[in-house]
Structures are given as C-alpha cells and as structure tokens.
Symmetry: C3
Subunit: 355 residues, 3 copies
C-alpha cells in the first residue's frame, strides 16, 4: 500500500530536469458523461497540445438494478460509472486537476494505463477529502487505455469494482488507419464502460444497504474474493443504455464502440452486426477484421468500428449471455434507414406447417 | 424480449426493394451431425450460390455423463449438440427453412453471427411449436461464426446453455490462405462444439431430473447465475469424442479443427500437437501461427489447422485442465503412421536409478 | 489415464528409423530457479545443439501465504514453482533426464507443449518414485511454451494446480525481431509463473493441513471443481517477488517478461509501464504492440518486452485486480535512474483547495 505514497516523495526530492513545454499549445477539454465523447479532432491539426482537464472524485449512492433495488455507494470520477472519456493524440500531454470533495469519505488517486512511470500517476495523485493535485503526463502510445483509482492494497480492487474507472483514447496524429494505411473515420463514438459489481447480500439473499461510502468495505471484500460478480452492467446500471437511453444511429453511419473494463475480461458482440475493425491491443497494431465477438482483457479499453447496413435494433452485449442478459451487460443501438433484402430477407414469415 | 418480435413486423411493413437474386445458383446442402462436415468445396467453383438448408428445433433428453447419470433436456438444432456445421463461401446466400416440431414445448429462433441485421435473423425466425419459417441471408464476411437460439430475455442464455447453438464456416471463395497468400488446404474437418451446462442439483448434490423440456427453467437460471458450469463437454456429452468415438487421422494429413463455444470462453490445446494456423478473428485476417493454446472468445467459432507429424493418440482439450478433465472437455484423435525419432525419442525408458 | 502409458509401449515396439543426430553439438544447460534464466545466447552461434538438462520431481511442503499460514504439498520440477525456465533455439533438441526421488509419494511425467508427439512426451516419461527416464525432442516451433506434469485423469489438473509446471523458450536462431525484421534484444529476463491453487478449507474457513504429498487429493478435487482458486500467486507464494524479493532494473534497460500459466487465463499488466512488444501466440508471429494488458491463454507461456523510461517501483499484476491484490498475483520491479518530467510531472502536489 505504501508503494503509492513513495513515488511522490521520491519525485519531490528529485533534481530531475524540468519539463520542456516548448511547442505545446494549451487547450481545455470539457469532459462529458458516458456514453458520449468530448469534442475532438480525428486528425490532429497543428502541433502537440497540453490538454487541461478536471475531474472530481465523487462518492454517490447509485441504483444498480431498479427491479431488485440493488444499490451501491459508487466511487466515481465526475459522478458517472465509467468516468468520462478523455481523448488526445499521440504526442499530446494530458494535464489533470484531480479534486476530492471535502465531504468525501475516502482518499482517491488515478492510475492512467496510457502514461509512463509512478504507477501510471497513482503514486503522485493521492488526494484526501478536501485536497487537489495536478498531474501532467505525455501520451506516447496510441490506443484506448483504462484509467482507474488505485489507493493501495485491497482498496485497489475495492475502488475499481465500485465504479472508479474510465478510458483515455490516444489517437494517432493522422487518425485511425486500416492495415494498408487507408484512413478509417467514424461518425460517432459509443463509450461503454462495463462494471462488475460484487454486491453483498444478507442471509435472505437481499442486497444489503449501507449508510455511507466505504461502509460496505468488509462485506464487499468477502464477496469479491469469490470472483463472481452479482452484476456486470454497462454505464453503471442495468438498462443505462436501453429503452429511452438506447444509442442511436443510421444506416451508412460508422460508430466507434469504445469498451472499457478495468477489472474483468469481457467479450463484446453486436447482435446483428460485427466488429469490422477491432483494436484489441493498440492503435500501433493494425485492427483485427470482421470479428463476431472481440475480447477485452480485464484492465483494458478496446475500440471496435462498424458501419450499419440495416435498420432496426442492435443489442451490444457481453456474449457470455448469462452476463449479457442476467447480470446486465446489454446496450441497444436503434438504427434508422432502409432495409436491404439482399443482405437478409424473411422469405417465409412464421406459419403453421402441414405434419 | 419483445425486441425479437419487432423486427418481423418492421420488415413486413417495409417497402424495401426486393432482393436481386440474378446470378445465383440454387443448391441444397445436406447437413450432417457433428463432428462431421457437410460435402463442400474448399475453393468455390462457379458463381455465387443460394444454399438451401433445413433445420428442426428438436427438444431431446440427453445423458450428459453416464458415470453420474446427469441428463439434460437439450434444446437442439437437428437433434445434436452442437447443431450441424453449415459451410458456404463469401458472397453466397444461406436460405434456411427452420421448423419447430408440433410436439415441442418451447418457441425457438436463430441468430446467425455471420449475417447482418434483424438481430442476426433472430427477429425474423420465431417459430412456435408446429410453425416453420424461411430466412435468407448473405455471407459477406469470411470466417467461422456461431449461430444460436435467442428467444429473448433470460430464455437466451437458457436455450444457448441447453445446447442450442452451432457454427457456420464462410470460406473465402479462393479458399484459406496463409499471410503470404499461399493456399492452405485440409484433408478433414473436426467440428467440435463445447457446451457449458449448468445442471441443477438437489440438496444431496444429485442431479435433478425433469419431466419435460423447460421444466428446469427456474432451477437452471439459479445455477447459471453463478457462472460456474457443472459440465463443459464436447459434442453434448462426456466422452462423445473419445474411445470408440475418437476422431481419426494419419501422419501427413491436415485437419481443420472448428471449435464452437456460443457462451463461455475456452482455450483449446492439442496435446502433442499445435495450432499451426489459427483463425481466432476471421478469415479476413491472416492466421496466427504455431500456437500452443488458442482462444475462443465466448460467443465465437474459431478454426485451427494442424498437420500430424507423429502417430499415436492426441487429446484435444480445453486447457483449463479442470474443465478439460473434470468437467468433460476432452476429445481424442487417433493417428496412424510411422514414428519419427528425429522429432522425439524415448532415449531411456523409465528405469530404477542408483541412489 | 491409460492413454499416458500406451505411447511408451507403442514406441518401444516400433521399428522406426533411428534419429539422425549428425551435425548436432551436445551441450549441458545448468537450470536455475525462477525468476532467473539460464545462461544462453539470444542469437544462436554455430549449428544446432542437443541441450542436456536434468530435472527432479520434488514434492515439497510450501507456505503459500505467511499471513494466513496457508500451505501446500507442492509437486514441483527441481523444487520450485514454477519449474526452471529452459531456453533453446529453433532446430535444437532438448534432452531431458527426469528423475523421481525414491522418497516421493507419487508418479510424475512431463508434457512439453513445445514438442511434437506422444502427448508432448507425457506418454514416454512416466517415472515412479526411484525411477528415471531420458526424453529427447526437437524444438521445431519458436515461442514460449508451457510444460507440465500430466499423469492421467484427474491427476492432470491436480498436479498442474499443485505447482508442477514451467516454461521453455524456443528462440528463433537469429533472435527476436519486430514486424519489420529489426532485431529486438533484452538486458534481462523476468520469468514469472502464475499458479492458481485451490486449497481445501475446513468448516471454519481455515486452510487444512496434510501429512504428506497427495493426502489432499480428494479435498482438492472438490475445491478445484468450483473453478475459483483460493490463491493465484507468482512464483509459488504470496510475496515471492515483492519487498526483498523484488525484481530490479534500470532506466534504459529492456526486460523480457515471461509469464507462464499452465491452467487458468491471466491478463498481466505492468503498472506504470507497458508491453511494448508482446508475443501472445508464438515467435513466428510479429509481436503485438504497446499493450496495456496482455493475455495468457490458460495453458500458455507468453513473452512481453519493455524498456524502462522512469525510475521507481512498477507492479506487475494479473489485472483482474481481485486476483492481483487479494489472491496474490503481484510482483515488483524496482527501477533506478533519473526521473523524466517530460513523460510525467506532479505539477501540483496534493494540497487543500478552497471551497
Ligand atoms: Cu478511489
Ligand atoms: Cu491498472
Ligand atoms: Cu431455442
Ligand atoms: Cu450471439
Ligand atoms: Cu507430477
Ligand atoms: Cu498442456
Ligand atoms: Mg512509455
Ligand atoms: Mg445503501
Ligand atoms: Mg487498450
Ligand atoms: Mg455486414
Ligand atoms: Mg430428466
Ligand atoms: Mg469466429
Ligand atoms: Mg511440430
Ligand atoms: Mg500440511
Ligand atoms: Mg506460448
């Protein structure tokens, strides 16, 4: 646990050469809640930037499943599960102001998988309630990367499985490309965080309730140790991306689906569609092609691109269908446009047959 | 759940342009039970085809493990777990007649991961007992793809984990190739479906029995929610591909192993051999090479190619060895031919040593 | 189970042509315990070699976790979990003398994923207490490969989950390369075996103790069947690679991390660093690039390369953080050097903010 406090001391004692910020332009990025993406360029114009962002470590009581009343004292960045999507380009710097509200119960920090050194910044960003810190790091590798809280010891999986994680997308300066170097562009981003919760139950199998953030710590650790989540949901709660909250698109439009899972493996599938281009590793590698179901190594963010060819409803699921349907990992895309009978046709509608 | 009925209404109301079937040749494909493959060309001759197939949604009581007497009311396509392998080429159309026998207990449908739109056809193929439907879809992406029943809601994982899944192989028109474009050909196909079952037990730990298909619904959902299967078997039952049912081959022969797992991740390994060419994503991507153990993302079918170099018995396993040995995921290849001492030699047979 | 004894009989009856060892040079390789690597060349000089090694199947009582007193009668190669790392080049032969000490309780053998035929040698190497055998096999495929004990039936997962596994690295003769064929060289190897243990507990939740190796067989099988390990540790025990046992490196140095997991999937992540080059499949394939978290298919060994750019402590974890932190899968690298403020800087140390 102490590991996470040593880095700061080491660095403050250090006589390292100051950073050279010559040539960088400072810009502010307004973060937005999931499933949305902040305003950004797909191809970078101008030189490298220092992108200033602010995040607050909010502890909020959330309903996970309205049907059962299951709730969790979520630990969050900016109040949402997952935390906001951050977008920059390779060679940019991200400068984060991290604030822990004075009424918080717990200390928090942040570990950016996209960054280099000091436990991804986790060793330099410990903020107690009422504290703030500023961390700047350079995006040297292109890809989608998880970030998450990592206060040390068992608090690490505890905070991560209470919602305290999100993603950074580091785009190549000249944008996404296929294996031959041809540009790949998207019309919209669907930013989906999958959250595995391990909610404690009482002897009757009812979900326990707690007075304040952190009160479920002991019970949660016991539930977590079994490695089987009670819920695995998209964007914090069952149904957060279905019904009235469904994502929307049109035939001919291209969506970039960014899937963040900071802890547990997942295997997304778009029912009725495909992952035409999937970056499971990084944007340095060419994308995998035409996948039915792709893989999110637990502790990763991945991107998958698809151009809709048919109208209707598509379900984006964790294709362990028990997790997708019963544990909650389902989102919907409602797509408008003209049906293409060349791709699929109901030649004979269901009818009784002669026996 | 309703999602699955909306698509049909939408499409029947639609004013979409009729399909243009000019240039297609109609052929019938006779489906065969696993682990066998239907008669097919590796390199397509002639123009694109409309391949007519028929499947019946049979509900059958199956013994999963003779040792324990564990049984399941399997939900199947054509009476086998997995359902039959379908093979076509990129650019072909598959035209399926799906019939639900009049004495079935449940409604069924089919979602083809290889297809595009209407929940993979799931929204257009709901058949109640005594009903039939005909669906035609175009294979636009080359690879091995899962198909499965998806009636809606918790019935989706229930049907899938009761055996109702199988695979389509969509070959490139000019056949399989390595990364340099050289042709890769096989002498035989071994089509292996891995099925995770979650069989309900009574208070003594004995497997429950049920009168009819569907009677285990409530108990099964409870067992499934824990995400730990009681069995993970190849081709429906423990031992379905060992002993008298072992697969056979010869030194110098090349086998294409198609592994379908519609729900849960797996990691096949051929004990004594390798995956010389493995297509985890699609046939659009070059195959991975020389793998000891490859990966089947839950909700995927993958292909792996190997040319036998030694005689003897090879065990094909899910290399979580607990699943492979104790939960049932083992198949055998019995391979004839001459031993090659250059590849391996027992220099000294086991003998007592001086201490 | 018998499968494992048939191969030896078959081969001893065989009239196969003797091996042609012309052109091979015999050398002895001194094996060393993990996390260290034996002396070896990255680029092979001279012609192919026959590399002679010796391993002993030791059964040893090990403490898994000092905090809880959890212990296991580990089944090992050469007394360590994992067994020693073996290194050769493609085209070399490995000639193993395997000895089972006379005071052992159990029979053992070895299955090399890197080899071809006879169940990876498992069918030719069964040694009872007091026996030895010699097996020679040719390394025809380049990559990192698991080896493990596989005595037959449920003894296979039992031995593997009691520590009886390790890795062979088969280097290309001209060494590791990137996708463009440029050489990739390392300064050190960190050989990390992840071991999933399923330790039986009594009714109070305390770990059981046993008199001798094998005494926990029945209890262990029961625990294993649930598929959820009680521990998942690096190099045999909690803390085996942290604190005083931490790995060390320097800024500018390149480490090759070899991760062996013979049974269960894992997803390693280097906190504060990356997998700049990751070989998940084999060295025949170009490495994946810039991964935040890579994947070890259960029953695989993989290699990941990273050049340290910052000083400090890095934690190498299974990034299912419950497994990494609570089940034990954490190692530390302590890296010396100068901090680079251009990569990361704590612009404002944590301080109170005005509300
Ligand atoms: Cu936190
Ligand atoms: Cu992390
Ligand atoms: Cu069905
Ligand atoms: Cu599906
Ligand atoms: Cu053994
Ligand atoms: Cu193995
Ligand atoms: Mg870096
Ligand atoms: Mg509460
Ligand atoms: Mg990523
Ligand atoms: Mg399509
Ligand atoms: Mg029955
Ligand atoms: Mg597939
Ligand atoms: Mg071979
Ligand atoms: Mg003991
Ligand atoms: Mg390997």
């Amino acid at each position: 646990a102490d590991l996470y406090h040593v880095a700061g001391e080491q660095q403050s004692d250090s006589t390292a050469v100051p950073a050279d910020l010559t040539g960088y332009t400072r810009v502010k990025m307004e973060l937005v809640p999931p499933p949305f993406a902040p305003a950004h360029e797909q191809v970078a114009t101008g030189g490298p930037k220092i992108i200033e962002i602010t995040m607050e470590t909010s502890e909020v009581l959330m309903t996970v499943d309205e049907d059962t009343g299951a709730e969790v004292w979520a630990l969050t960045y900016n109040g949402s599960v997952p935390g906001p999507l951050i977008i920059c380009h390779e060679g940019d710097m991200v400068e984060l102001t991290l604030r822990n509200p004075v009424d918080s119960m717990m200390e928090h920090n942040i570990d950016f998988h996209a960054s280099t050194g000091a436990l991804g910044g986790g060793g330099l960003t410990h903020v107690y309630p009422g504290e703030e810190t500023v961390l700047r790091w350079k995006a040297t590798k292109a890809g989608c990367f998880t970030y998450h809280c990592a206060p040390g010891g068992a608090m690490i999986p505890y905070h991560v499985t209470h919602g305290m994680n999100g993603a950074v997308m580091v785009l190549p300066r000249d944008g996404l490309k296929d294996a031959d170097g041809n540009p790949l562009r998207y019309d919209s981003i669907a930013y989906i965080g999958e959250q595995d919760y391990y909610l404690p139950m009482d002897e009757n199998g009812d979900y326990r309730t707690y007075e304040a953030a952190g009160d479920d710590y002991g019970d949660s650790l016991e539930a977590m140790r079994g490695l089987i989540p009670t819920h695995s949901v998209f964007n914090g709660a069952v149904g957060a991306l279905t019904g009235e909250n469904a994502l929307t698109s049109k035939v001919g439009e291209t969506v970039l689906m960014i899937h963040n899972q900071a802890n547990r493996d997942s295997r997304p599938h778009l029912i009725g569609g495909h992952g035409s281009y999937v970056w499971e590793s990084s944007f340095t590698d060419p994308p995998l092609r035409d996948m039915e179901t792709w893989f999110v190594r637990g502790g990763s963010a991945v991107a998958a691109m698809y151009t809709f060819e048919q109208p209707g409803v598509y379900a984006y699921v964790n294709h362990n269908l028990i997790e997708g349907v019963m544990l909650g990992a389902t989102a919907h895309f409602v797509v408008e446009g003209e049906w293409d009978n060349n791709l699929m046709e109901q030649v004979v509608a269901p009818r009784a047959f002669a026996t």
